[in-house]
Amino acid sequence: MKGWKELEIGALTKAGSADEYNTGSWRAFRPVWIEENCIQCLFCWIYCPDSAITVKDGKRGEFDYMHCKGCGICAMECPGKKGKKAIVMEEEGK
């Protein structure tokens, strides 16, 4: 860790650096994406508190498991297809 001579004065902090911090280890449950049930509504993306759903060119991609805390909001809000959810929560380590 840096000493006082090396640190920017006044505790100035680099913008966006939390991106490097792993909160994935908090997870007790893991969201799993079932692509065939996905209608690409992106509700999961707009409601995720941890910016943990990747989207590319307007299309949903994989979870960002380094940041996902496993809250389950995405699974709760996912409408899925014909009553079948595109996100299910599974216990970690199972």
Binding site: M1, K2, W4, I9, A11, L12, T13, A15, G16
Partner: protein, 392 residues
């Protein structure tokens, strides 16, 4: 050279602020400093300054807005007194911790209760540990000069700390004295352009200011503040030297008055120093070797230099215009600490005087010198700490 005018202390401060022309001022009225911001508001209204004046709803918000403005990336000033400073107290620490070079005039006034609007130093002394550079001023001229120099000190690359300039409420703030003002362009050149450091408004280079710092890093930032304070003495002297070139007036870390061969000495801040000097002259005429030390830089306190200046003195009377109930007055504690740095062991007494604007008269100064003389002769101290000018 500049103009000589007869003005009040507050007017002198407002005039310095007009010449400094800060980017933002955020202030709230409080006696006896109100006139500073009133006059400054008139400068803003008449277009004599470019300043954005933020007329906040409390002193707490005044200092908060000053910090926001300073963080945004420009020069920021304010003024307050007493309860106003007390309400700011939380934000004073934040201004210094975030390393914001805000410059504030503190027109010294007693703290309640009982409520009292007159001058003493309880407010400034209460802010002693807030991490601000503190300069103290005997009269309007010194306050004006100190304020202009404070800009350079606070903003100095090696310092980057907030600074407050103290001046006695009413005794100086409201009395008219003749003093010399520098020409506007001289002040402008002297202070120079403000150089922002990682400003918040630089949207191309976003920064996070004021994060949560846990025990793993907190102490490193405090050590940095200590380091900045260590640089202040040199910067104060360097700035004073340059100021002397443009003004002809010389300043140091403190003023030593007839101290060279003194056996007895008075240490006192601000306006009371003037009264003491006159009395010292009378005693000198009678062959009594008495001198005076008037600190200018109180934070950081120049311990070694003060000790050196007082090293030949046998008895010191430290006058405090503020109480530390159950302890010695704040100035006494500093002088006692200073004397530890060079091992000289003068006898020291402490007098609490002038609280809530109680007059400090020449006979009070004479009483102190008489007592110092008696102690020098007998080696006996009746009371180390006592009140001066109080009715039994």
């Amino acid at each position: 050279m500049g103009k000589v005018l007869a003005v009040t202390g507050n007017q002198a401060i407002a005039e310095a602020m007009r010449q400094i022309n800060p980017d933002v001022c955020a202030a709230y009225p409080i006696t006896p400093s109100t006139e500073v911001m009133q006059r400054f508001a008139a400068f803003v209204a008449d277009g004599k300054v470019d300043t954005e004046l933020v007329t906040v709803e409390s002193e707490h918000s005044a200092m908060s807005a000053c910090i926001g403005a300073s963080a945004a990336g420009g020069r920021v000033m304010t003024a307050t007194s007493s309860q106003g400073l007390a309400l700011m107290w939380e934000m004073l620490h934040i201004a210094s911790g975030m390393r914001m070079p805000i410059v504030m005039t503190l027109v010294n006034r007693a703290l309640s209760a009982p409520i009292n609007i007159h001058g003493d130093h309880s407010d400034g002394m209460g802010a002693r540990d807030c991490g601000w550079v503190q300069l103290w001023s005997e009269n309007g001229q010194e306050a004006y000069d100190n304020l202009i120099q404070a800009i350079r000190i606070a903003e100095h690359e090696d310092v980057r700390l907030p600074a407050m300039v103290n001046m006695d409420g009413f005794i100086i703030s409201h009395s008219i004295e003749s003093m010399e003002f520098l020409p506007d362009d001289v002040v402008k050149d002297f202070i120079g352009e403000y150089k922002p450091k990682n400003p918040l408004l630089d949207i191309e280079n976003p920064v996070t200011m004021g994060p949560l710092v846990l025990p793993d890093y907190f102490m490193e930032f405090k050590r940095q503040q200590h380091e900045a304070m260590l640089h202040v003495k040199d910067v104060v002297l360097e700035v004073a030297k340059e100021f002397e070139k443009v003004s002809g007036r010389s300043y140091g870390l403190f003023e030593a008055y007839r101290l060279d061969d003194a056996e007895l000495a008075i240490v006192v801040l601000n306006s009371a120093a003037g009264t003491c000097k006159d009395v010292i002259d009378e005693y000198r005429d009678r062959g009594i070797k008495v001198g005076l030390l008037k600190p200018r830089l109180f934070r950081p306190f120049p311990y070694e230099e003060v000790a050196e200046a007082l090293s030949g003195v046998k008895v010191i009377g430290v006058l405090d215009r503020a109480e530390s109930f159950g302890g010695f007055g704040p100035m006494y504690m500093e002088i006692a600490s200073a004397m530890m740095t060079n091992g000289s062991k003068p006898i020291m007494i402490n007098k609490i005087y002038g609280l809530g604007g109680r007059d400090f008269m020449p006979e009070h100064a004479a009483m102190v010198i008489d007592e110092l003389k008696e102690i020098a002769e007998t080696g006996k101290v009746k009371l180390y700490k006592d009140y001066l000018g109080v009715r039994e």
